[in-house]
């Protein structure tokens, strides 16, 4: 299992913005993502909310290669709360 621990400025409690999502994908996820196996993507505990546009930007390159209905075969999300984890998955599939 490929664990990817994301890092954001500790002063941030939320993540938002499509372009910022794309840029963070490029800097934190792109080179570490395992396209043939399961990736556990871990959002740090200080992130309590994430806007849909960030999620769409962050995962857009992945969704170009992986059908959103198969996303759970490749991605497991860990975050500060179950609610947030569910929301991230829902928004990836949105």
């Amino acid at each position: 299992m490929n664990k990817i621990e994301l890092k954001f400025d500790k002063s941030l409690s939320g993540l938002a913005g499509n372009s910022y999502g794309v840029s963070e994908y490029n800097s934190q996820l792109k080179d570490k993502f395992d396209w043939n196996g399961m990736n556990v993507i871990i959002f740090p505990n200080h992130i309590e909310k994430i806007g849909i546009s960030f999620i769409q930007g962050f995962f857009s390159a992945i969704l170009e290669k992986i059908n959103k209905n198969n996303i759970e075969k490749y991605i497991k999300i860990e975050s500060s709360s179950e609610e947030l984890t569910t929301k991230i998955i829902e928004n990836i599939k949105f």
Binding site: F8, D9, S11, L12, S13, G14, L15, A16, G17, N18, S19, Y20, S23, E48, K49, G51, I52, S53, F54, Q56, G57, E83, N91, F94
Partner: protein, 380 residues
């Protein structure tokens, strides 16, 4: 830059003076509600002053209405005031003869013009206050989001979503509601920064009469400029080479074939392009996100469900979409019709949901107003 001069671009010059004194202009804005018609009257008169090159004008605006139609009107009034003073068009005095019995008047108390009622506005103080990038008081949050690459692409919006949540937390509102509202606001600001060249003004006002009564949350987001919600969709429709766009955009052309049979002076290609921007898989630029706010109607629906009442709309150009319960769902295929059958492809939107204003606003205004009832929103 807020690009306020765009507000006067498509405006006729009209002299609304009641007495023809060259330098003393008394303008009466009267009626039931202070509304966009009055705003345009004021803009037309300012255009008249500019075109006739009248200097050192003393403008006295008498507002004699029962109430204010909404918060956005008052914020536009602030913006016009800033434009007049910043460009040395003249002195400004407002006289508000407005009933203080209505909710809007309580909101007005946090408006920059409130303290100047019947007094000549101190130009230096007003300009300085208006230009502040961020104002946070006990029930007012106002921010000018600067449109630059750093803010569009960096963590600015992430900081903003945390900032807004922090402001709203003070009111002890349900945590999920705060998260949803903060997210909706930041989605709108994100769209405003990424699909225009102007800065964006965000204003949040809160009236809290709980526990005995209700709470009112009003959010206004304004960006001024030539780029409207439908601008990129119009370009797509008009483009001869559609190969650079996503094939999913074909849905727009299919819908257009059905909608154009019903085009009239109340629903036209501009209206159609505006609602098309809200379709989920429509991408207006090559490999770019949707311009109207994919997911925004879903967020507003969630906010609506927890509110006891609400009044939400977007105005862009001269097209209005009201966000009303029953008209906020995306279909399984990601379409939204803004009509009773929720059928974008075959049916035009309901005329009371999507309609046109007589005059064009060069920019985009989102106004979201939610009334929360204490009983319906138990605190965590």
């Amino acid at each position: 830059m807020l690009n306020i001069d765009y507000l006067l671009n498509d405006i006729d010059a009209v002299d609304y003076r009641k007495t023809h004194n060259k330098n003393k202009h008394k303008i009466y804005l009267s009626g039931d509600m202070l509304c966009s018609d009055h705003i345009f009257m004021l803009l037309e008169h300012i255009k008249f002053i500019e075109i006739n090159n009248i200097k050192n004008v003393n403008i006295n605006v008498i507002i004699n209405t029962r109430a204010f139609s909404d918060e956005a009107v008052l914020i536009i009034l602030e913006i016009i005031t800033y434009y007049v003073l910043k460009n040395n068009i003249g002195d400004l005095t407002y006289t508000f003869i407005v009933s203080n019995k209505y909710l809007g008047y309580e909101m007005f108390k946090n408006n920059m013009l409130y303290s100047y009622n019947t007094k000549r506005i101190n130009s230096t103080a007003f300009i300085s206050n208006f230009e502040r990038k961020c104002i946070i008081s006990s029930n007012h949050y106002r921010r000018i989001a600067i449109n630059n690459e750093e803010n569009r692409n960096g963590p600015y919006l992430s900081i903003l979503i945390g900032d807004i949540s922090m402001f709203l937390k003070y009111y002890n509102v349900d945590k999920n509601y705060i998260n949803d509202l903060s997210e909706a606001i930041v989605e709108i600001v994100d769209n405003a920064l990424n699909h225009s060249t102007s800065d964006c003004l965000l204003d949040i006002k809160v009236l809290d009469y709980r526990p005995n009564s209700y709470m009112c949350l009003n959010v206004t987001v304004i960006s001024i400029g030539e780029i409207l919600i439908n601008t990129e969709i119009n370009k797509y429709i008009e483009s001869t080479d559609k190969s650079k766009y996503s094939e999913k955009n074909q849905i727009i052309l299919s819908a257009l074939q059905n909608h154009k049979k019903h085009f009239s002076n109340t629903y036209d290609i501009e209206s159609f392009a505006t609602i098309s921007a809200f379709q989920k898989y429509v991408t207006t630029r090559y490999k770019s996100k949707n311009s109207g706010g994919t997911g925004l109607t879903t967020l507003i629906k969630q906010l609506h469900e927890k509110a006891s009442s609400d009044y939400c709309y977007v105005l862009s150009g001269n097209n209005i979409i009201k966000f009303v319960d029953g008209y906020l769902d995306l279909t399984e295929t990601g379409l939204i019709g803004f009509n009773k059958s929720n059928d974008y492809l075959n049916s035009i939107p309901s005329s009371d949901i999507v309609y046109k204003t007589e005059k064009k606003f060069n920019g985009v205004i989102y106004n979201l107003c939610f009334i929360l009832d204490e009983k319906e929103n138990n605190n965590e």
